[in-house]
């Protein structure tokens, strides 16, 4: 537990100082924990747990767009769980239930819990379709076709800078659309 959280903090520090591989590893590492918490929250609210992946993606987007509010000298886990808790409560409230979420929900993945493979999530995909063409093309290229920023720039005849801007704006407007739905 303790070790795992220290590892997260280390990875996030590297990520903030520009190491994208560390960032990728961190997001991969926290996802199962977020997923387990989302499933538990849904189950407790009497909601179908198959919606957990939408919540996980919502949390990941918020983590990404708000990571500048993390204090690099503080441990990462409390910040992460605060973001996750906020998003989970929002998601459950949107589904029309009065809910209580325990911080313990995030504390650990129960040993008996079978790891869940990436499940289908519809909300992000649905909002993706409503983005401006440029942003959608860039996101599609990087997410679905696994192209690098450089390859995407070449393919779409854009500068790398423009791809970066479109990528970030796309992620930000996806988040805004998810919040407003």
């Amino acid at each position: 537990m303790r070790e795992r959280e220290d590892e997260w903090t280390g990875l996030m520090r590297s990520a903030i100082s520009g190491d994208s591989t560390a960032y990728h590893r961190l997001l991969k590492a926290v996802t199962p924990v977020l997923r387990a918490a989302a499933r538990r929250g849904l189950a407790r609210a009497g909601q179908p747990v198959d919606q957990s992946e939408d919540i996980v993606q919502d949390i990941l987007l918020a983590v990404h767009l708000k990571r500048h509010t993390w204090d690099v000298s503080a441990p990462f886990a409390p910040w992460l769980f605060a973001i996750a808790r906020n998003k989970l409560i929002d998601a459950l409230r949107r589904r029309g239930r009065r809910v209580f979420v325990n911080i313990e929900d995030f504390a650990e993945v129960l040993p008996g819990e079978a790891p869940v493979e990436t499940a289908s999530a519809g909300e992000v995909a649905a909002q993706l379709a409503s983005l401006p063409a440029r942003q959608r093309d860039v996101l599609q290229s990087i997410a679905v076709e696994s192209a690098s920023i450089k390859d995407t720039a070449a393919k779409l005849a854009m500068s790398e800078g423009a791809v970066r801007v479109a990528l970030h704006r796309g992620l930000a407007s996806l988040t805004a659309k998810l919040r407003e739905q």
Partner: protein, 212 residues
């Protein structure tokens, strides 16, 4: 898009650096301030006897109180822009202006006064005060909320309320230079009511605008 693809996309955007919330708040306040200043100088202006008034410690106390409120609220706002933060350990900052005001009231009580207490409390400008402070604070509140949207407050309504105090503190600083009522009793009554109103507006707006 499955979650692995999303993670890949987020990692690709790792190079993007957002500005710290403090910086965003400062820019937004600097952009909003001229609007309030313009409103103040076209409609109210500084009181003509300001040079004499400055020798009155109760005139000066008004600025100490309003600026202490603004500064404390800025500090608390920035603290609350982190999702894991709560008011605990920071909320006491907001008591500083209240403490200054209480000390001022005590000080005034100990001095001989020409006017009875109720007259000083009611003053001559209570209605103006209740109108001007909320109106002057609206542009600043809008700016504060725009700046604080860069943060991730766990309780958006609370963060919005503090933004309301922040803008009321700055607006009251302007208004204090216009108003001829200097009694701490007047300030404690009418400035506080105006601030409470702006705080409520901030809480309402914050609960909508500061969600992330």
């Amino acid at each position: 898009m499955d979650t692995d693809q999303l993670i890949k996309t987020l990692a690709a955007d790792n190079a993007h650096r957002a500005r710290p919330v403090g910086f965003a708040l400062m820019l937004a306040l600097l952009a909003a301030a001229p609007v309030s200043l313009l409103m103040f100088f076209t409609e109210l202006g500084i009181r003509p006897d300001v040079m004499t008034a400055m020798r009155n410690p109760f005139f000066d106390l008004k600025f100490a109180v309003t600026l202490a409120l603004a500064a404390a609220a800025i500090a608390v706002s920035l603290h609350l822009s982190r999702p894991e933060a709560s008011l605990r350990g920071f909320g006491w900052l907001l008591l500083i202006p209240a403490g200054l005001l209480t000390a001022g009231i005590g000080g005034e009580m100990m001095m001989p006064q020409r006017l009875p207490m109720m007259t000083r409390l009611m003053g001559n400008n209570s209605r103006m005060c209740m109108t001007a402070i909320p109106l002057l604070s609206l542009p600043i509140l809008a700016g504060a909320l725009i700046g604080l949207r860069h943060g991730a407050p766990a309780r958006p309504a609370v963060a919005g309320a503090i933004a309301g105090m922040l803008s009321a503190g700055l607006a009251a600083t302007l208004y204090a230079s216009h108003c001829t009522d200097d009694s701490p009793l007047f300030v404690a009554t009418w400035y506080t009511l105006s601030t409470a109103l702006v705080t409520a507006i901030g809480a309402l707006a914050g609960s909508k605008l500061l969600r992330f």
